[in-house]
Each structure stands twice: as C-alpha cells, then as structure tokens.
C-alpha cells in the first residue's frame, strides 16, 4: 500500500464526487429541457444562455432556503436520511470502471476506485442500502404520505432486488466472475452479452427503473398521489441531497447496464471510452424519455409485474442458461 496508490485513490474519489455532484445538477437541466422539448415547450430559457444557469439559481436558492425540522420528527434520523441516499449512491460508484485505463504523465490511471472481485454484488448491495434513505426519511417524518412512501420504497426495493440479482445471475454464470472489469474483458473476446442474454438485459433494465424510482415505477415520490413521498417534510439543501442521490443513482446505473451487457468500454481505446459514454448517455436519456412518454403504474401492478412476470422469467432464464452451459 504505497503512497502513490493512496494519493491516486483519494484523487479518484474527489473527482468522482465532484463530477457526479455537478452532473446531478446538469442532469436536472437536461431533464427539464428534454421534457420541455418533448412537450413542445421551451424549458428554462431566461437565466443565462439557453437557461444554462438555471441550475445555479436553483442551487443558490436551495442553499439559502430556511431549513425546517418539524417538531414531531425523529430528529437525528430525519437529518441523516438524505445523507444516506447521497452517500450510498456515491459509494456504489467505487466498483464501477468509468473509463478504460489511460496514461497520464507516464503514470497509468485506472478510472475505478477499487477493483474488488465481487464488483457486481457490491454495487447491488450498496444500492440495496440506498433503500434506507427513503425508508428512514419517510418513517422519521411524522407524515402520513411520507410513511406511505416509505412502505412503498421498502416493497419496491425488496421485490426488485430479486429481479436485479436473478437477471444479473445469468451473465455472471457465463463470465464466471463478479468483477466488472472481467465482464468487460469477457465481452472483448466473446461479443456483447446482450446478444446471448437479451432477456436478462431487458429484465435488468426494467428493474433499474424500479431501483432508481423513475417514471414508469415512480411510486415512491409521486406528486399526484403522495405529495412528495419521503421528501414531503424536507426543505432546502436536505431535499437537494435526496435529489443529488437520485440523479447520481441514475448515472451510475446507466454506467452499469452497458458494462454488464453492452460491451463496456471495449478494448480500451479512446473510441471505446467514447462508446461507453455514448451508451451511458443513451440510457440516461431513456430515463427522461420514458418520463415524457409513459404513465405510472399502480403499486399493486408493480408488485404483480415483479412477482408474477419478471421473476419467473428471470428464473427460467437462469435455468436455460445453466442447461446451455452444461451441455
């Protein structure tokens, strides 16, 4: 454990934190713009050129807004819940290889904080902990709607973790490793996994919507049913942390899907790096696209979809993969 490694890790952590916090802000701008264009609107226009500084205005406002902690809430847990959401989102980034390794000033940089050999399990596990943000925030809020949202969050996360895990299991069986780098290397030789595992790809994709709580499954913080869900009682920057966590989660899952199924960054050329970024951008855009196009499903439909459709399909997929690999 030499000093260079330590310094490198610290730099990587700082870079990831800064880049993705900024990206979360820019993400809101993209979301507003893209949704506006899809609805024949203009979106933010007045602040800065093309409304680009809207994010800054929102940030200044959120920082200077009064921060209310209501009387009946369970104080410490109420305060810590947004931090859990943001922190787990960034913790999940530790095992994700964002780019192929490149050389700067003769020093080889691996753009992954820690290449642990259980990468996928780690990402899934940390995203599972991400549940505790909405859950504790909702339960501590002393608010009916927040409590409902917490219950929904628990139900959705427990159910869809099963689907995510089972969908990822078939590629894991093929690759024979849990490290995301190994996934990438496997796909250089054998082609993209999505061609051999299309069902697992689709299942994982659907489950990603549930795990990030985006629109077709946007039940946890649903404006028209349960005011703002777990965020109902949050104001100012605490609520902003929830927001940053949500958008960072979207970005990270948009990285994970191409790395597992769509070849990742390929053999590590510059082209491959841009290809990965392009794939990531597509998946992020798809999150916004569905938000403009699709309606929400009901909670019971969501559970029905998980336990009666997606999970049997995932199990069948795993079994078939096993048989094909055995014979």
């Amino acid at each position: 454990m030499d000093n260079a490694y330590l310094i490198e890790t610290v730099i990587k952590v700082v870079v990831i934190l800064l880049v993705f916090s900024a990206l979360a802000g820019i993400g809101t701008y993209f979301e507003r713009k893209i949704l506006a264009f899809m609805q024949r609107r203009l979106g933010p226009m007045n602040v800065g050129p093309f409304g680009l500084l809207q994010v800054g205005a929102d940030g200044i406002k959120l920082f200077t807004k009064e921060d209310i902690i209501p009387t009946n809430v369970v104080g410490p847990i109420f305060k810590i819940a947004p931090v859990i959401t943001a922190a787990t989102a960034f913790m999940a980034a530790a095992a994700i290889p964002f780019l192929p390794s490149f050389t700067v000033f003769g020093y080889e940089v691996h753009p992954i904080v820690a290449d642990i050999n259980i990468g996928i399990l780690y990402v899934l596990g940390v995203m599972a902990i991400g549940l505790f943000g909405p859950l504790l925030g909702g339960m501590a809020s002393a608010n009916k709607f927040a409590l409902l949202s917490a219950a929904r969050a628990a139900a959705v996360f427990i159910s869809y973790e099963v689907v995510t895990g089972l969908a990822a299991l078939a590629p894991i069986m093929m690759v024979g490793s849990l490290s995301l780098i190994d996934f990438n290397n496997y796909q250089i030789e054998n082609g993209w996994i999505v061609w051999s595992q299309p069902l697992a790809f689709i299942l994982f994709w659907i489950a990603a919507f549930a795990e990030t709580g985006r629109t077709p499954f946007h039940l946890i913080a649903n404006d028209h049913e349960i005011i703002d869900g777990f965020g109902t009682e949050y104001s100012g920057m605490r609520w902003g942390l929830f927001f940053i966590g949500e958008y960072a989660n979207m970005f990270f899952i948009s990285f994970v899907i191409p790395i597992i199924f769509l070849g990742g960054f390929g053999d590590g050329t510059v082209l491959g790096a841009f290809a990965l970024l392009g794939k990531m951008a597509f998946f992020f855009f798809f999150f916004l696209w569905t938000r403009a196009a699709w309606p929400d499903v009901r909670p019971d439909q969501l559970m029905w979809l998980c336990w009666k459709v997606l999970m049997p399909l995932a199990v069948i997929n795993v079994v078939i993969t096993g048989f094909v690999m055995m014979f």
Partner: protein
C-alpha cells in the same frame, strides 16, 4: 347577445315590478289525465294515506303524511319502479306557518315519469332517513341538515357536509342574511387567530364599489401603482410598466416593454 324582444309598446307597460307581486301558480291538472300516474296513485292509495295529489308540469305531486315517508319510498322503489331519487331537500315556510316542506323527486326509468313526494313537518321535527333505500340520500340529508337544520332519524353520519363542523346557523333559512351573521363574519379570524385578533385584523370589507384614491394600503389606481404605504398626492406620474429593472438583470435575458411584439398568428 340577449334575445331581442319587440319594444313597440314598451312605454305602455310599467317598467317596474310590483313589490308585492306574486307569481302565478303553474296550472294544476287532475291525476286522471295521465293514466300511468293514475294507476300509480291508485296503488299508492291502497297502502298509504294520500292527502292531496295533482299533476304539474307533467309531474305528479303527492302529499303524504310525514311518518309514511320510508314506506312510501320503499313502495315506490320496489313496486312502482321509481328506482331513482334524483333530489331531495326542504323549503322554508317558517314565516308562514312555522313548517318546513320536504320534497323527494323520484324518477322511473322504465315508465319515463317523474314524481314528487311532499310533506310538511313542524319546525324542530325530524324526518325519517331514507338512506338505506337510496344511497344518494346520504349526502342530500346531510345537506338538508346543514342548510336547514332538519335532522334525519337513523342517518348513519348526521354531520354538516358543506360547511365546517363548527359552523353556527343554517344558511338556507330565509332569516339568514346573505352576507352572514356575526359568527360567519368573524369565523376565519376566530378560528385561526382567536377572538382577541378581531381588533387587529378588523371587520370584513364589503362596501364594494367605494374607492378611496388616497388610500395606498388598499387601493391601487390602475396605471398609477405605487408601493404599499406611499403617500398619495393625487397628481402622480403614470407608472411606466416594465418587466425588469432599468438595464436588465445580470445573466438574465433582457425584456423591455417596447421590444415586445405581438405575434401575427396565434395558431403558431
């Protein structure tokens, strides 16, 4: 536009209305003129005491005893196919003879007939609830209680429906002033701030057309708006309307009133 009426003899007629004018009654007809109603009335008479019955505007009106109402409506619903209670409420006759007139408007979908059951109750009496016959009577009876103070026996949830639960007074009574009594005038102040706040907040302002051009706390002269509390002299300069401060705002798109143009095609 209003429909045009010939105005040739308009000066021959008095253009004011008689203060004690009583509108003429809609002509009543015998029930026997309509055989469907006649049969229904005959069936009703075999079981219940019918005080009076006639036909008005092609609808049969039947006066019955107040105690029979549940039985009558059940009979109408089950035997005579008047399956729908479209409306029920009360009429305030307190000034005349201290009674309320309660009416139930029924509709038969198969016979395509409408029928009205009516009876009188004294002030302070209660009616029998027909909520178990027609679910729609639930809210109607609550509204009747809310607006007239007539209670319904055996109603599952006899509370006010439109007005808040702690309201005093029954607004559809003819003695109730339109602008509300003392309680209504101070309701929101009493409820939110307490009675001691009455002096601070002051009474409601209802003198609607009066305008005080020197009061800049309440009134703004259009085109001459000033910030609240400014002293008005009476010869202000017209207010130059603009969207932003002079010279615009840093990093925000500049808007001026003169530069804005009216677009040609609103269908764009």
């Amino acid at each position: 536009m209003r429909a045009y009426t010939p105005k040739d003899d308009v000066q021959a007629k008095a253009y004011y209305t008689d203060r004690y004018y009583v509108a003429p009654q809609v002509p009543k007809q015998e029930v026997e003129t309509d055989e469907v109603f006649a049969a229904d009335l005959a069936a009703l008479k075999t079981k219940f005491d019918v005080k009076e019955a006639f036909i008005q505007m092609k609808q049969m009106i039947v006066y019955i005893n107040a105690n029979d109402i549940y039985g009558v409506l059940e009979f109408l619903r089950d035997e005579l196919t008047y399956t729908q209670l479209s409306e029920m409420s009360a009429i305030d006759w307190l000034a005349k003879d201290n009674t309320f007139e309660i009416f139930y408007q029924m509709l038969s979908m198969t016979k395509r007939k409408r029928l009205r059951i009516k009876f009188f109750i004294n002030n302070g009496d209660a009616v029998d609830s027909v909520e178990s016959l027609f679910r729609c009577a639930d809210w109607s009876e609550r509204e009747m209680f809310d607006m007239f103070g007539i209670e319904a026996n055996n109603h599952p949830f006899m509370k006010r429906i439109l007005l808040p639960y702690d309201w005093q007074g029954n607004p559809l009574l003819k003695t109730y002033p339109l602008e509300g009594d003392e309680f209504a005038a101070w309701y929101e102040v009493d409820k939110i701030y307490g009675k001691e706040a009455r002096d601070v907040i002051g009474p409601e302002i209802r003198d609607t057309a009066r305008v005080d051009r020197y009061d800049s706390e309440r009134f703004a002269r259009l085109g001459f708006e000033v910030p609240k509390g400014t002293k008005i002299t009476g010869n202000e300069e017209p207010n130059k309307q603009d969207y932003q401060e002079e010279g615009g705002v840093f990093l925000v798109k500049k808007f001026t009133k003169d530069a804005s143009k009216i677009i040609d095609d609103p269908q764009r």
